[in-house]
Amino acid sequence: MSLWEYANPKKFMDWTAPVLPWVAGSAALCLSVGLIWGFFFTPDDFRQGSTVKIIYLHVPAALMAINAWLMMLVASLIWLVRRHHVSALAAKAAAPVGITMTLIALATGALWGSPIWGTYWEWDPRLTSFLILFLFYLGYMALWSAIEDPDTAADLTSILCLVGSIFAILSRYAAQFWSQGLHQGASLSLDKEENVSDVFWQPLLITMIGFGLLFLTLVLLRTRTEIRMRRIKALHARARRA
């Protein structure tokens, strides 16, 4: 059996129905454990004080903001190459989740920046590229709702997604491209010397997994909704023709 068969709308609805509650439950568990552990049971950072508690929201949200767009990119490419409707609908379903993650990253970043940098906002490369990513999400969602024909909408939003991917990647690596920004380099690294201390890393890792699972839950749920909406439209069109 080919992997692509799972992208058939009927098959997709069949396999996601039993999987969804488990993914949602795992997301809730990871988020609860990670956030409670991080907020209540970790010490203050020697330099940043108690503001380090914002890391459990800011880093996972920023990670998912970028990864959501990359997931949309893959789904868009599948649509453009193989014309699988579910992939186009999955990309559409991921956009509101991605924009929410981007908003959380921007808001928590501003609140974290205020005491540490002395300002809520600075036209720093990473902050600016994140703001542009937010605007791309807005444009992407607006484009979907502005075009009536779903296939044309999927085509044009896929092209927009390809262009926006430059900023998604830039958001990830901006701090490495330009050194003059306020934003620090990556907090997470495979190099133990550069990675955040284990006392913060362990709850952070659980929270990041939780955000990833929450993203998956919402994308599956919203894709199922999009498939049902598409079916309603098809049934209405069939009734009109009869």
């Binding site: 509101p96 959380i104 049902r228």
Partner: protein
């Protein structure tokens, strides 16, 4: 409740905004899912 010191406003606002946004997103997604499911059942039953 841990002692957040002088940064209590920034930290609590961060958590408040994040929970608010995530709650709204999850709530809207679940609500829309239920509404569309019922609408599809109605259309299929009528058709």
């Amino acid at each position: 409740m841990p002692d957040l010191g002088t940064y209590a406003f920034e930290i609590l606002m961060s958590y408040g905004i994040s929970f608010g946004l995530l709650g709204a997103l999850v709530g809207a997604s679940v609500l829309q899912s239920k509404r569309v499911k019922v609408a599809l059942q109605r259309v299929e039953n009528n058709g």
